[in-house]
């Protein structure tokens, strides 16, 4: 099956800093999603982005499908951005395969 690797595994930021999270995947994909799991455990859809670039407020994502990676940018981070960020991919008949996540802590 498809392998998904996320980096860094952990990240600590001060409020206001910017960050880039990376997701590498081992095969071509039809679907790629980024999720934020907040400290209360909810999995929130951030982006559906199998290719190209999207922006939503302080968050943006870029997927370069031909090079099999996706980046999630967080600008002017806030304490509410804390949590775990997951990248998940699938293609063909497979179900969504998740990376192990990046745990982000934004301190005031």
């Amino acid at each position: 099956g498809i392998q998904v690797e996320q980096s860094p595994p952990d990240l600590i930021l001060q409020e206001g800093a910017n960050s880039t999270l990376r997701c590498n995947f081992s095969d071509s994909v039809n679907n790629l999603q980024w999720f934020h799991q907040n400290p209360w455990g909810q999995l929130i859809n951030l982006f559906y982005i199998p290719s190209g670039t999207k922006q939503n407020g302080r968050l943006s994502a870029t997927t370069v499908a031909t090079e099999r990676y996706s980046l999630l940018y967080i600008s002017s981070s806030q304490t509410t951005d804390s949590g775990v960020y997951f990248c998940a991919v699938n293609s063909g008949y497979s179900t969504l395969t998740f990376g192990k996540g990046t745990m982000l802590l934004v301190s005031p």
Binding site: V29, N30, N31, P50, N90, T95, K100, M103
Partner: protein, 116 residues
């Protein structure tokens, strides 16, 4: 108007008991899933149903039995609970099955199961 809702949110039970978690989606999706998140936060697929039919069973013990009475509902029944079953169980749904382009998946809020 929650899209994917699951109950209960928290469940504490003794070893050996049988318990169920219910899930409903109002998105009109054809496909529903159960995922398990372990203590290290790793999310792994357990089951996938498409229009009430089981399409994926990822080597989950027989003690876990999903049931889909209609395409909007996918319940998870667990027999003879063990300590290792303690985890967060997420229900999810998507318009269609597999890695078809555009097949965005939506998750419920999770059910925290603790077996003591």
């Amino acid at each position: 108007d929650t899209a994917v809702s699951q109950t209960p949110k928290y469940l504490v039970t003794q070893m050996g008991n049988d318990k169920s978690i219910k899930c409903e989606q109002n998105l009109g999706h054809d496909t529903m899933y159960w995922y398990k998140q372990d203590s290290k936060k790793f999310l792994k697929i357990m089951f996938s149903y498409n229009n009430k039919e089981l399409i994926i069973n990822e080597t989950v013990p027989n003690r876990f039995s999903p049931k889909s009475p209609d395409k909007a509902h996918l319940n998870l029944h667990i027999n003879s609970l063990e300590l290792g079953d303690s985890a967060v169980y997420f229900c999810a749904s998507s318009p269609m099955t597999g890695g078809t382009s555009g097949n965005t998946i939506y998750f419920g809020e999770g059910s925290w199961l603790t077996v003591v």
